[in-house]
């Protein structure tokens, strides 16, 4: 009777299996006639609150800002009005303390509406006014959300720092931020409810870029009152999409926002876009798809395999995938080509490299010998080898901090200390007093500590490769690996000699890069190497408040020549962001800034269905193999069982 119940359970389990269907499609069923875009995330978005979010994914689709970057046009990047009605008026403004600041006057489009949400009266999204933008900016000064972009405007918008200080004080007593308190630098026009002014304490031409960031999107006070900090999981935006389903650690679904009235698909693009078919949908309304379904999958390998099965439409390559996609630098693998997968690359302004600790007794300092030592190490590094091995050539070897597409970039410039040049490096090393890596005075080998936060296998391999390259000079490289938390702490405290360092710009301006050389930004600021050169400081202060142009470029080149000689950095490359997309995805272009542009992408649904079915035909040979093994394995069991049955008979025969 026990046996019977066991059998019953087995049957039930089998039935359940059959009922579940033999299918490897991980996606939920979609409403008929809808074609969602299928994308994946490595984890829940840390926050969907535009004030607290660093990453553009999803948030950009929910919270558009005053400006947006042009989808197609590049080099230079162009800002378009998104919520704005007109380009801001910029004029000098005398502050009460007598210093000269700037006043920017903005005006929003009329008729913009928030998405429908229960926090509004009647559940209908109300019209957006200038006060909503001001409220959004004020929210950056709420200490409880640690807003990532706050530092860009904290000391530049008049009175904002004091407002933040006021809120910090309230926090200490367990009180929330006080948004009713006025900030003098954020002014509403009493006559025009769509207009507002921002008063800056110093000229800040990059404010236009900040106004393109999601943190300056309009936000509804009602939503804050209703949801409080839970806004991070319950966004109330005004963008092309609304968040219609959110299951933490499972999936997120964005569907088009009926209240959205925004610019349509661009009708002119960069050279070559028309030929690539990117202008076929010109003038059609956005979004170009019926929704976006994000699957949240932590394990990168699993989620990559799902892309290969066609269950994800696009894939942003990370270090781990380069080799899966490309067999040689810049080229898709034969399998990818056969599948018709498209490769899209773009240069998001960034710099990857290594920094020396300029306070280190052995490697830091601006004396000639120390400079030569650093230059020698810089010359020992083979940038191309690293780029080829780790990103399959998807990076431009860097000569200086400023990447292409940014003012002050000079494509013809060659850094005299770019590697690999071992002979020159050896010579410089000897001049620095360490011939063949041996201290000529003490006879001791030079030891370079290379700290890293490398945790995964690729990171560890990267460290090994770089160590080997530097080791060719005869220097002993000691690799030390720390947990990321500890590593960033050591970085901030300056407990390092030589570390890897990378940085990307939130907006396309050289100031974003040069600030890493400005001595007031010393640790814990972004000048992590603690590079101090008064000439560079003075030049930077000029560059910061200038408009882009030849004059600014000349100043940047002067900075460059000084810094390259001082060599606080070893420049490795400007990495391209590489995306691959399935053949059924149309209108894909990779933005050259950190922004989410998925609303422009369209799907060829019949093609998707056909190819996914084709790619997922079951291969049944494993069943045969398993059956064979089971047969071979079970045969002795059967024989043994039968011989047991016959035992007494056989044994009588043996009598």
């Amino acid at each position: 009777m026990r046996l019977k119940s066991a059998r019953l359970i087995a049957w039930l389990a089998a039935a359940a299996l059959v009922a579940a269907g033999c299918d490897n499609n991980p996606l939920p069923a979609e409403p008929p006639g809808k074609a969602y875009l299928h994308l994946s995330l490595g984890d829940d978005p840390t926050s969907l609150d535009p004030s607290g979010s660093l990453l553009p994914t999803i948030v950009d689709n929910l919270y558009p800002a005053y400006f947006s970057y042009d989808y197609l046009k590049r080099n230079p990047l162009r800002l378009n009005l998104e919520l704005g009605a007109a380009w801001p008026k910029r004029e000098p403004y005398r502050l009460p303390n007598g210093r000269m600041g700037e006043r920017w006057s903005f005006r929003l489009r009329k008729g913009l509406r928030f998405q429908d949400d229960a926090c509004f009266p009647g559940g209908k999204g109300r019209e957006i006014v200038a006060a909503d933008v001001v409220f959004g900016i004020k929210r950056l000064a709420d200490p409880s959300i640690s807003a990532p972009y706050f530092s860009y405007i904290e000391n530049r918008v008049w009175g904002l720092a004091a407002f933040a200080e006021h809120n910090s004080e309230r926090l200490k007593h367990g009180l929330g931020a006080d948004f009713d308190k006025d900030v003098p630098g954020l002014r509403l026009d009493p006559k025009d409810r769509y207009a507002f002014q921002i008063i800056l304490t110093e000229p800040f031409p990059e404010l236009k870029y900040v106004m393109a960031l999601r943190c300056c999107a309009p936000q509804a006070r009602e939503a804050w009152n209703a949801y409080g900090p839970e806004i991070r999981r319950h966004p109330v935006g005004c963008g092309p999409y609304v968040l219609s389903e959110y299951r933490p650690k499972q999936r997120l679904l964005l569907t088009p926002n009926p209240n959205w009235t925004g610019p349509s698909y661009p009708s002119e693009g960069a050279p070559g876009d028309a030929e690539a078919g990117l202008l076929d949908d010109a003038g059609k309304p956005l979004p170009r798809n019926d929704g976006i379904l994000y699957s949240i999958l932590k394990e990168n390998v699993s989620s990559w395999n799902q892309f290969l099965q066609g269950y994800q439409d696009a894939w942003s390559l990370n270090q781990a995938n380069y080799q899966s996609v490309m067999t040689r630098p810049g080229q898709l693998s034969p399998d990818m080509k056969r599948r018709g997968i498209k490769l899209i690359t773009a240069m998001i302004p960034n710099i990857v490299g290594f920094i020396f600790n300029m306070d280190d007794p052995t490697f830091g300092g601006l004396s000639l010998a120390k400079r030569k030592l650093r230059q020698a190490i810089s010359l020992s590094i083979d940038r191309q080898e690293i780029i080829d091995l780790f990103v399959q050539g998807n990076a431009l070897p860097a000569e200086f901090l400023v990447p292409p597409g940014i003012g002050g970039y000079d494509p013809s410039y060659r850094n005299p200390f770019s590697g690999p040049n071992l002979t020159k490096a050896q010579a410089l090393l000897s001049e620095a007093g360490f011939p063949n890596g041996i201290n000529s005075k003490t006879g001791e080998r030079l030891v370079l500590h290379y700290d890293s936060g490398a945790q995964d296998s690729l990171g560890r391999q990267f460290v090994s490769l770089v160590s080997r390259q530097i080791g060719r000079l005869g220097i002993e490289v000691v690799q030390r690996s720390w947990r990321p938390v500890v590593m960033s702490d050591r970085q901030v405290r300056g407990q390092f000699q030589f570390i890897g360092f990378d940085w990307y710009a939130d907006y396309p301006d050289p100031e974003m890069f040069l600030l890493m050389l400005y001595s007031p930004n010393k640790r814990p600021g972004m000048n992590r190497s603690n590079y101090r050169n008064p000439v560079v400081d003075r030049l930077f202060e000029k560059v910061r408040i200038m408009e882009d142009g030849p004059a600014r470029a000349a100043l940047i080149h002067r900075v460059r020549d000084i810094v390259v000689e001082d060599c606080p950095w070893v420049y490795l490359g400007h990495y391209r962001s590489v995306l691959i997309s399935q053949p059924w995805l149309r209108d894909r272009k990779q933005p050259e800034v950190d922004a989410d542009m998925t609303r422009y992408w369209a799907i060829d649904q019949p093609m998707r269905q056909r190819l996914v079915a084709e790619w997922n035909r079951p291969k049944l040979w494993p069943i045969g193999v398993v059956a064979l093994f089971a047969g071979v394995g079970l045969a002795p069991v059967v024989v043994a069982a039968r011989s047991r049955g016959r035992r007494s008979i056989r044994e009588r025969g043996g009598r």
Binding site: A20, C22, N24, S146, P229, Q250, P622
Partner: protein, 313 residues
Amino acid sequence: MLRYLVRRIFYAGPILLGVCLATFALFYLSVSPEQMARRNISAKNPTQAQIRDWLVARGYDKPLQEQFTRHARSLFLLDFGKSDSTGEPIAQRLRQGAVPSLIVGSGVLFGSVGASVILALFVAAFRGTYVDRWATVLCVAGMSVTVLVFIIAGQYLFGKLLVWFPLAGYQSGIGGLRFAVLPILVGVASALGANVRFYRTVILDEMGKDYVRTARAKGVSEPRVLFVHVLKNAAIPILTSFVLSLPFVVTGSLLLESFFGIPGIGSYMVDAIDGQDFAVVRAMVFLGTVLYLVGAVLTDVSYALVDPRVRLE
């Protein structure tokens, strides 16, 4: 029985307190609050003011013993508080994660115990023959392969070649069960070797006992001897291993969950460690301890149920 329970609860207090203290000490030895703040503030380069505000908002600016007493008190009152990194209530996240963890965990547990017991009985029935010998070798072989290889092979076979199950992912509701099948299969397969070998020893041990001979001398059929007589006695060590792994049903299997994208408590725990989320870590450790202690009580209770010689006192 009542006295037993009261005594166990009485003992649980100091143990839980010890665990709280150990967690607290280990966490503060491994990471400073400032590092935690830096890790959790999403800005690329948080300012000192932001770090200070972060610490103030979460009470990490208070003296250590005040923090400890506050944490311990709220944990003992089963108030898990809010996550340091996301700010969401931990209890809510635990509730969400419990179901997937329970599905996968109980699937693996029951599947592996069921399959192992049946296989072990089968192997034991063929004791002394080379079926038994090869089965033992296979078991040891199964124990010698890492779980990772089982996972990779399972995904490749069922997800890529046979296309029976999704490679990874999860959906709530009945439709989500098909996501659980592959992790369960892999979990069962990886546990099978060790379990079958252990159960076989236990069962053979029992099969050598005199009462089995008595039962046979009465003319009791062989399946009945195995399933009623032997299994009931072998159940005691089997139960121990079963009940001791019960806490993991709830806390989830870390590897399976993170590899197969199951949003269970196990992967929540890994995320918390990864993100230096002390609030979550201390809640999870506390919960794990409570479950462990409950498991220990359950073991004793189940002994008493199976073996009439055991009395709880």
